[in-house]
């Protein structure tokens, strides 16, 4: 019997849902609004030295990979199924674009975090 890949994709969707529910609002607030406007944060809070040191630390690497990868798998799952709901039936090609895109971006992020040094 052909085994379903749905449990794996749902687990990634669920993990991404939890991480984005916990960290999504504050990350967007910090990196997209307060940081660039330097409101409530020092102007160099997201500057090059700090960002590099963060990406070179083990907790930073884990967090960056988890956020980028799980956010994308979460979104891939929702976009794939929501498109079905509005009559766009992606099929295998749609899965390659959504889940495959999330997988490819995860590998790119992992590769960058491995080569950026420690």
């Amino acid at each position: 019997m052909k085994r379903s890949h749905e449990p794996i994709l749902w687990a990634l969707f669920g993990a991404g849902g939890v991480v984005s529910a916990l960290l999504g609002p504050v990350l967007i607030l910090v990196t997209g609004i307060l940081g660039p406007l330097a409101i409530g944060l020092p102007p160099d809070a997201l500057g090059y030295p700090r960002a590099l040191a963060f990406a070179q630390s083990l907790p930073g690497k884990v967090l960056l990979l988890a956020v980028i990868s799980l956010f994308l798998f979460h979104a891939a799952h929702r976009i794939f199924h929501a498109l079905h709901d509005v009559g766009v039936h992606g099929g295998p090609a749609g899965m390659v674009i959504t889940y495959g895109g999330a997988l490819a971006a995860s590998f790119i992020a992992a590769g960058l975090l491995l080569t950026i040094g420690i």
């Binding site: 990350l27 980028i68 994308l72 971006a105």
Partner: protein
């Protein structure tokens, strides 16, 4: 012979007919902002590996008013996602019990919302003071 013409209920725009499904669609659309934000971070990581000038160019792009506007909208969608995620968490959570009594649905949701609020405060303080 009479032709059989079964009535097929039209499905076009089905989700606009009921506020429940409109909220469902808003929730699903939040994932588009989740994806765009993750890709924005990935681009930032790429630029970070390329050097200081490239990374600072990425930061300058994020200070563009259109970028701020996008992140403002994305913040609202991500907040709605967090709200709905914990709202339905009782349906997906394992059977949680204190003693023999099942944990009420509202307590599970409230725990999730509190966790998001706590994580928000912790992350902001870490970025601000560490």
């Amino acid at each position: 012979m009479a032709q059989v013409r079964p009535y097929v209920r039209p499905m076009k725009g089905w989700w606009r007919r009921n506020p429940y499904f409109v909220r469902y669609m808003i929730r699903e659309v939040s994932s588009v902002f989740v994806a765009i934000y993750a890709l924005t971070l990935l681009v930032g990581l790429v630029r970070l590996t390329q050097g200081e000038a490239q990374y600072e160019a990425w930061r300058a792009a994020l200070a563009n008013p259109l970028s701020i506007l996008f992140h403002g909208v994305a913040f609202l969608f991500l907040s709605y996602h967090a709200y709905t995620w914990w709202l339905v968490a009782p349906k997906t959570a394992p059977d949680l019990r204190i003693g023999k009594k099942p944990v009420p649905d509202r307590a599970i949701s409230a725990g999730g919302w509190a966790a998001t609020l706590g994580a928000t405060i912790v992350v902001f303080c870490l970025v601000r003071w560490m």
